[in-house]
């Protein structure tokens, strides 16, 4: 087996905020009827979390779950656990109309840490990142520059961001430029 390596191989940039390759993250796409009891039960037994509301994201000890669209969830787990998670869901949901697939290698993850994380993302995304509008517990799927990304706050000053791996290096470079020292407008912190 070849060694799996994350998109910028653990690179880190320290600027106005810290941008860090979050390494390999297990990500399982689960599509199906989110109102179904069986699906909720399967997710609960697989990663120990109840289903999030629309746009919600939750983290627990065994992983996380994020709402992607009215019929899609993204489950987070350890990179090595993803195939086992898919197998578990396949077994629990046998006979249901659903799809579970390991998409870990299709995506790249980054962690931004610092007081200005909202402003770094706001430089390239049309999403409203003001503290009143964008709160912890919500995952926003949007764009950064011209590529699709999803981001959420895992702590008040920590932003997690995922994108497709094919644009991962670009997103990392983009974030590093946007997070350069003395370039934040301090718009959200000003008031």
């Amino acid at each position: 087996m070849s060694d799996a390596v994350s998109v910028v191989n653990g690179a880190q940039f320290d600027g106005a905020v810290q941008v860090r390759d979050a390494g390999l993250v297990g990500m399982v796409t689960l599509r199906g009827d989110l109102d179904s009891q069986e699906l909720a039960k399967a997710v609960k037994s697989a990663i120990g979390l109840t289903l999030p509301d629309a746009r919600g994201v939750k983290a627990g000890t065994k992983g996380g779950v994020a709402w992607m669209s009215p019929d899609e969830l993204l489950l987070f787990c350890d990179y090595d656990e993803a195939d086992a998670l898919v197998a578990k869901l396949d077994k629990a949901l046998a006979g249901e109309h659903f799809l579970a697939v390991n998409g870990s290698d299709a995506r790249a993850s980054f962690t931004l840490t610092g007081a200005g994380v909202r402003e770094v993302i706001a430089k390239g995304s049309p999403a409203d990142l003001s503290p009143e509008a964008f709160k912890q517990g919500e995952m926003r799927r949007s764009r950064l520059g011209q590529v699709a990304v999803a981001f959420w706050l895992s702590a008040p000053d920590t932003m997690e961001l995922v994108c497709f791996r094919s644009v991962g290096a670009f997103v990392y470079d983009w974030l590093c430029v946007a997070a350069a020292e003395d370039t934040l407008p301090e718009y959200f912190n000003a008031g």
Partner: protein
């Protein structure tokens, strides 16, 4: 800038997060239809000046299609509604009529 609220995920999405899908509620004529019907479906668009019903896709967000009613001259957005319908909801038509007294209602 056009901002439409996606009825599927509730995000007030900026135009740049969306993909335009053209006029809404077309009747699709396929194989076996008359040439005139097919031509109308294929080529003839209302190109309305004023109230217009459109299809949009939240392509950078939840990826789902939805409908929007807006004014093509002022860009005023009257409302958005789910894609799973063949005509605009009655309460939206009512709302548009209140704002645009000369609007005669939705017609195919």
């Amino acid at each position: 800038m056009l901002i439409l609220t996606c009825p599927n995920c509730g995000v007030a999405a900026d135009e740049t997060e969306l993909s335009a899908g053209g006029e809404a509620h077309l009747t699709r004529y396929g194989a076996g239809s008359s040439d005139a019907d097919f031509e109308t479906y294929m080529f003839m668009r209302k190109n309305a000046r004023g109230v217009h019903f459109e299809r949009w896709r939240h392509s950078y967000g939840c990826g789902k299609w939805f409908h929007a009613a807006r004014c093509t001259t002022t860009l005023e957005v009257f409302g958005t509604y789910p894609a799973q319908t063949t005509e605009p909801p009655a309460e939206l038509i009512e709302k548009i009529k209140q704002k645009r007294p000369d609007f005669e209602g939705f017609s195919k």
